[in-house]
Symmetry: C2
Subunit: 189 residues, 2 copies
DNA sequence: GCATTTGCCTAAAGCCTGTAGGAAACCTAC
DNA sequence: GTAGGTTTCCTACAGGCTTTAGGCAAATGC
């Protein structure tokens, strides 16, 4: 019997594809095994189980998003940086909905601290450097950015904002404009 | 054999409790049956199955949230209304995390239109009446409110914003202040 | 070439979903 | 009060996913 060449990395990569195609709920040891033409039991020497697989997808997504956001941010500041930051997340979520979904899985503290999650808040702070906001307002602003972009993306994914005639892209631009103005009003708030 | 008195309403109510106690993922036909000391197969004449049960929790949560938000909004306007609106959602999510989670489930279009979901956007528009914002900006603003509050609540639930010394309530108040100012700057963009 | 390690296998137990058909409890009405 | 009909819950079963245990075959190393 020829070997399939299973590794944790390849299993997680397949799980990520499956998540994007069919949703995170379909990411199971069984379904991933099927992709490799292998029995489900064979995965268990490489990964801990279904939860592990999903956590792996989450960590992959956090890394990939941080990479893309960092790239989008290079050489930009102010409103440009804000739009690039937000756009990178939105584009990623649209291209990889299952991975994005996985990225919102709760991680235990240790795993979270070792993940690319920490880079995300650093990147948000990089955006805010264009706005001259001191602590503790800077932390508040990091949370605001995370909230509004994650919130928008997740509502857009769920509903598509589809039951009104107003275009979602227009709302996105409007939101970026207003956030830019909000941040520009600075620590003086 | 004494009858357990199963009804769709009682099953959904038990599912909602279970969701709050153990998370939406634990809401299964099996687990709910256990609560009634009944075989899982017995549920299937009352509800369609596990998905139905979760959808039922979602619809319940949407109704309950709309009720609470409407009550919180009564007699308020401006920043007061904004804070009451946002606070009602946040309080509900903290008191009923599983129901809140369920409320974000995607519903098919028909179900969504018949749900209390439509009341939520009406309530957001009620808050915005205190700010004199015309269409299409009003729609943009409805989406912004939904995004930022849902985003904040879901990030707060996932991470507790716990790995920094800055208090989450302080960020919440800061966010309300800034949003109030943002909306007050009005249609003048 | 032979021994060891590694990789995938089969087997099996346990839990969950959902369908089918049966029996007991409840209701209605005579 | 009891006969008939309906409702409610039951048992039985088929099928899927998870995960552990133990085996054989392929790859690796000496």
């Amino acid at each position: 019997m020829a070997r399939a060449g299973l590794t944790p990395e390849r299993l997680v990569a397949a799980a990520a594809e499956l998540a994007d195609e069919a949703g995170l709920a379909q990411v199971t040891a069984s379904a991933v095994a099927r992709r490799f033409d292998v029995r489900a039991a064979s995965l268990y020497s490489h990964i801990g189980g279904t939860d592990d697989l999903r956590t792996g997808v989450a960590l992959l997504a956090l890394r990939e998003m941080a990479d893309r956001v960092a790239e989008a941010l290079a050489g930009r500041s102010g409103r440009d940086a804000l739009a690039a930051f937000a756009g990178a997340y939105r584009d990623y979520a649209r291209a990889h909905p299952g991975r994005y979904e996985a990225a919102r899985l709760p991680l235990d503290h240790e795993t979270a601290m070792a993940s690319a999650g920490v880079r995300h808040s650093e990147l948000a702070r990089a955006v805010l450097r264009g706005y001259d906001i001191a602590e503790p307002d800077q932390t508040h602003a990091v949370r605001l950015l995370g909230s509004v972009f994650h919130g928008y993306i997740s509502l857009e994914a769920a509903t598509g904002f589809s039951h009104t005639p107003v275009d979602s892209d227009a709302s996105w631009q409007w939101t970026l404009d207003r956030l830019d103005a909000l941040l520009r009003s600075g620590s003086a708030g």
